[in-house]
């Protein structure tokens, strides 16, 4: 049963929208394409996005996303240049600060009121280098549960984060996407719905240059070994000293045979009993309870 969970998550049509989406990739496959695909969907829905970038410069991202086409707003926090403030006392972003302070600073500056924003953190492991893990996890939880945040999307590598931090972030997230280095590219999705149900699926996808994604069901890797093949059946039949196969004539004759019990059922049975000489045949009813 193909659930297309990935498609719904990517097109932001999953209701209710998962508050905290974690995209994990490995060093063998990059998940940034999937991230930008989700961002495209958000931009088409006129959401404003606050993007914290640690690897690619904002100009590069803007040109890859073709931002001019959509109406949504895209605000960047550039943590690629001088993140710790070693060269300049007032860097663009100081990654040693608590994460929710960094992300919320641009929100306050921007439009106030109840407009919802989508927050994107590109490369969690780069932020984790500068911050205390406990503080980082608390910041993520605070960000995901704030009212003005529609969705928090975090891109992270599975093999570069310490396992305990990764498992803690997976525990906090409402939806986790594991991008796998298979060909064609596939991913495993775990979606925790607020009703308590947990959906898991393994789906293949292709990413087009304009960041549209087509999703289909993945072929399962392990097929259960079949117990008999037609070839071995033929060989086995040759081994035995009897023949179990029926020719057509024989099958027809078998089906037409009327079995004794069915014959009786259709015609009605009669019991013929001849009493022996030692039998004491008495026609009376000793209990007086037969009502024939």
């Amino acid at each position: 049963m193909f659930k297309n969970i990935l498609g719904k998550v990517l097109k932001c049509s999953e209701t209710p929208i998962p508050r905290f989406l974690l995209l994990t990739d490995t060093s063998e496959v990059c998940g940034r394409g999937v991230l930008w695909s989700i961002m495209q969907s958000h931009l088409h829905n006129n959401a404003s996005i606050i993007y914290l970038s640690t690897e690619l410069s904002p100009e590069h991202i803007k040109s890859s996303l073709n931002v001019k086409e959509s109406n949504g707003k895209l605000h960047f926090h550039d943590a690629t240049v001088d993140p710790c403030g070693w060269d300049n006392d007032q860097p663009n972003v100081n990654v040693a600060q608590p994460l929710h302070n960094i992300m919320n600073s641009s929100y306050v500056k921007g439009s106030g009121g109840t407009q919802k924003v989508v927050m994107v953190i590109d490369r969690l492991e780069k932020i984790a280098l500068y911050q205390d893990p406990l503080q980082l996890i608390r910041s993520l939880h605070i960000l995901a549960s704030e009212e003005h945040v529609q969705q928090l999307i975090v891109l992270s590598g599975r093999d570069v984060l310490p396992e305990n931090i990764l498992s803690a972030v997976c525990h906090l997230a409402s939806a986790v996407v594991y991008v796998l280095p298979t060909t064609p590219s596939s991913c495993k999705v775990v979606l925790k719905k607020p009703s308590g149900k947990v959906l898991k699926s393994h789906e293949e996808f292709t990413l087009t240059p304009d960041l549209q994604v087509q999703v289909r069901k993945a072929q399962s890797q392990t097929t259960s070994p079949s117990t008999t093949d037609p070839e071995t059946d033929a060989i086995l039949a040759a081994q035995t000293t009897f023949n179990l196969a029926l020719t057509d004539d024989q099958r027809r004759a078998k089906n037409n045979l009327l079995l004794p019990h069915t014959r009786i059922q259709s015609t009605g049975g009669q019991i013929h009993y001849t009493p022996d000489d030692v039998d004491d045949w008495d026609d009376d009813d000793p209990d007086d309870d037969l009502d024939i």
Binding site: L134, V190, T232
Partner: protein, 376 residues
Amino acid sequence: MSHGSSVSSFQKKGKAKLVSIPGTRPSLHNAQLLISTGLPSLDYLLGGGLAVGSLLIVEEDRYDVYSKLFLKYFLAEGMMNGHMTTLASLDMSPQSIISDLPSSGDTNPDDTAVDMTDTQMTIAWRYQNQKSQSSSISSNKFGHSYDLTKVMNSSLIDKVDVELWDGKITEEGKGMVKNKYYWSLLQFIKKRIESGNLSTSFNKAKTNVMRIALHSLGSPLWGWEFSQHEKDHQWESLTAFIYMLRALVRSSFSIGMVTIPSHLFVDPALMSRLTTAGDFVVRLESFQGSEKETNPVFKDYHGLFHIVKLSALNSLVPPLLDSTDWVFRLKRRSLTIERLHLPPELSETVSRDQEETVTKSGPACIGGKLPKHLDF
């Protein structure tokens, strides 16, 4: 045939103790005061119910689906009996937990009129004259049946003394409990016990018990417990907290139920320390997403229920159970814990290892998949 208060005429020997606290009853084994956890099958495993003054630790399943249900049953039972309740959670808002409790199917006995014009009993006609059960039990019912598809009415919850703790107000940790969340929660519970006059050193007769429900203690938001190693003695806060919580609960008329996401702990030593600190410890292992989901033995069930520890409170021996394998199953309306019955071994499915060593007949090009019953 007695016209007594129950259908069964069995009476426990000895003077009848007047139980004045609603929702509690003395244990059949040792007259310990017990309360219901809300799940009758769990009550059975704990020896009739959860003893007042004990601490139950539930190790959560992977996605915290079923352990949350256990907590909800515990809270719902408290609501039905009017017990004081304290609920604490950092992972999700306690308000969202308390507003989603299963409603009980048992109606209030004062509301229903006993229908005396019942149909004539034709088979059990000797019981026709006996009074029906509901009239004199009144409000002291031990355990209710719950329907998960319906939500408990908030008016029922408003009548009960409930306090929620969500970690917004904290004070700095002291002594062994350096973590501010654990320390603040401990102070909060202590104040609640004092205000409810539930401490055993307080000499007046108790009229109520308090249920303390702590959700997802030890999750990443509380502290660094999930870390690889015991960094800077940070485990000390959680282990000391559980120990002090048990002491608080023992010295007052309260019952603690704590759910812990032990699957996040990298070092199993932490969970074994917490196991020694708790009274009853159970672990839920759900089949969601694991390879056991497709195992035909577990087809009808949703997870394994492991009983890690049962303690002997005021007795020499903990409750003895005849089976060691338990499973839980979530039906649409209820959650039950059952014995795991392995299917009977039939001769065709049992693989007899000694037959495998007999020389295999047939051409060598076939693999080992030849059935064994080829020759007669």
